[in-house]
Symmetry: C2
Subunit: 360 residues, 2 copies
């Protein structure tokens, strides 16, 4: 071990990378293209999801990079004032997750040489930071053995919303880590139920820990032009040439998800490990899943981010979010009413998935 | 006939009385105690219901009185600037319909001597004013025979929301008028259906035409203290003593509906006639009945009183009223969304009756 790990101190050679992308279109009008999910205080805690994410990682490292789109760079800088300007990697245009993460890895190597990096989305909800960090520390040690290490989330049910990780043998040289036999695309619910019965499956939350040189090594082999491109950009990143090089090279990078570029082929070759975590984890995708994380008042109504009164008449389990006006819900069970400065949404918890189809 | 009735000229000795009361609590938050139904532009025509009512009566008479509560007198005067101050009879407190109408009758007699008066609520919707006025003209002539004449509304279905008028023999001396055999309280739907099958029944919309002396004569016999009270108030109405007398006498007036005070007992004695009208008539009580009067756009959505966009996703027949923000309705058929400056209502057309139970 290169870090003095008493479970409290930062890990010297560990860099956290926070990809901050994705609108959260089923959470409209709370989230919108100009105000994506990671920039909002989704749970009414007083902190936005990216603020929570950066704070959750802070005890692990003194070095966190955020990778985000040019449109949101200012908002991220404003919301996370602790972030040095150099720690904000701005993508001029979206080129999928592999380019974003590879750029971070290449910039880290360019600046510091090899490091262990961990990638954690900016918009996930993880209530127990301590348990999360314990899992990451285990994953960092496993990554030192040369593996790509994914965090496995303990399933709370046969969800069809996530991909699954199939764990195999425990790894002798990495306590708490297991070989990954395969990644599974989002299954239907029946298949998911069979997987949970069979055992050994965890949810794939897209969180992984890996040495920068291991990651870039896999990339050089599997997506060589992409690897060459991010290396070229990284070499110019902290120089006066950055804009010129980015402008020339970035648009040429292969658009591919890291799952397809690295995780799946490397797993097939035995190069991926998983560390199962026992921390609660929520990818709050719509108002139904959001409501599950909020507490109802004595009348059974859930409110969040608002002070004005709610009256529910013959309407059980109403969810009323945001806004400044009194709201009455009459005769619709599990209604969801969301008011922002820009718009009003009316739906039900059961129909909340369809909010992504709103075009206003 | 004392009037030269070519169907166009005002009727010389006819005075229209417009009782303007009732909140319309199932139309919250459009209607509220401080902004009752008759003061709102319910159909988005650009005119409020009381403005429509006064305009509808104008071709019949040069003399219209509005009876309203003290709280709404200023708003009525503002909305109906053609109304002279003397034509606005202000009730200091609500004492039911008999006191309001008897006061109007007594003030008319005090000012002008006997007149034919017609009473028409301020918050009904009657799209065809011409047909309505033709019916009123017929009723005025019938009232000259000494009858209390009610207008009968042609039923459009077996509604349980209205009382019914049972017509008997045609009156020989009053063309187009029929004796009233009885008034029926709101029936259940099955009873209403039997009544429509039997024939001879019309809806009682509370619109009636009667000579002031006939009305006050019935009142003197049936409710003598009430008659004496309104006579005393009327004698002082256009004098410096009005406030003193009103303050002393008004609170003592019997609280009773005109149906029970006059219509029912006089009908039992053969003194009531009815003139069936063929004009469309709507007592728009809730957002379901309001929606029936509005026109859907090409997508099936009904909007009123708003410019901002509406998007209905998997939501047929959405009704969106008022407000300035874009509204999305997702997955709720026949949803009703109403936004005012003060509040937001979310319900469905089928549940719209329960809006009266909102307490915000």
């Amino acid at each position: 071990m290169t870090s003095l790990d008493n479970g409290r101190n930062p890990i010297d050679d560990f860099v956290a990378v926070v990809p901050a992308g994705g609108v959260g279109s089923r959470l409209w009008p709370l989230s919108q293209p100009h105000r994506p999910k990671f920039l909002i205080d989704l749970l009414g805690t007083g902190r936005t999801l990216i603020q929570e994410t950066v704070a959750r990682l802070a005890p692990l490292t003194e070095s966190t990079l955020v990778v985000t789109g040019v449109r949101h760079a200012d908002a991220v800088a404003q919301q996370v004032p602790s972030l040095p300007a150099s720690a904000l990697l701005t993508e001029p245009s979206p080129r999928d997750s592999m380019a974003a993460i590879a750029l971070a890895a290449a910039v880290i190597e360019q600046r510091h040489g090899e490091r262990i990096m961990g990638s954690f989305a900016a918009d996930h909800v993880i209530p127990d930071g301590e348990e999360f960090r314990t899992t990451v520390r285990t994953a960092v040690e496993a990554a030192r053995t040369g593996k790509v290490v994914t965090l496995g989330i303990a399933p709370t049910g046969p969800s069809s919303a996530f991909g699954y990780i199939k764990a195999g043998q425990a790894l002798a040289d990495a306590p708490g880590a297991f070989a990954v036999e395969a990644f599974t695309e989002k299954p239907d619910e029946a298949t998911a139920a069979r997987m949970l019965t069979a055992g050994g499956y965890t949810w794939n939350a897209g969180m992984f820990v890996v040495s920068t040189s291991v990651l870039l090594g896999h990339l050089a082999r599997l997506q060589p032009t992409l690897e060459a491109g991010v290396r070229e950009i990284a070499a110019a990143w902290d120089s006066a040439d950055r804009d010129t090089v980015v402008e020339r090279v970035w648009p040429t990078l292969t658009k591919i998800a890291i799952d397809h570029a690295i995780a799946e082929p490397v797993a097939a070759a035995g190069g991926v490990a998983t560390v199962p975590g026992s921390f609660a984890w929520h990818d709050v995708g719509d108002f139904d899943s959001l409501a599950q994380l909020l507490t109802a008042d004595a009348s059974g109504t859930i409110t969040m981010g608002r002070d004005a009164a709610v009256d529910a008449v013959a309407a059980d389990g109403a969810v009323v979010i945001g806004g400044t006006k009194p709201v009455a819900v009459v005769g619709i069970d599990d209604a969801v009413v969301v008011e922002t400065e820009e718009a009003i949404l009316v739906t039900t918890r059961a129909q909340a998935q369809k909010v992504k189809d709103v075009s206003l």
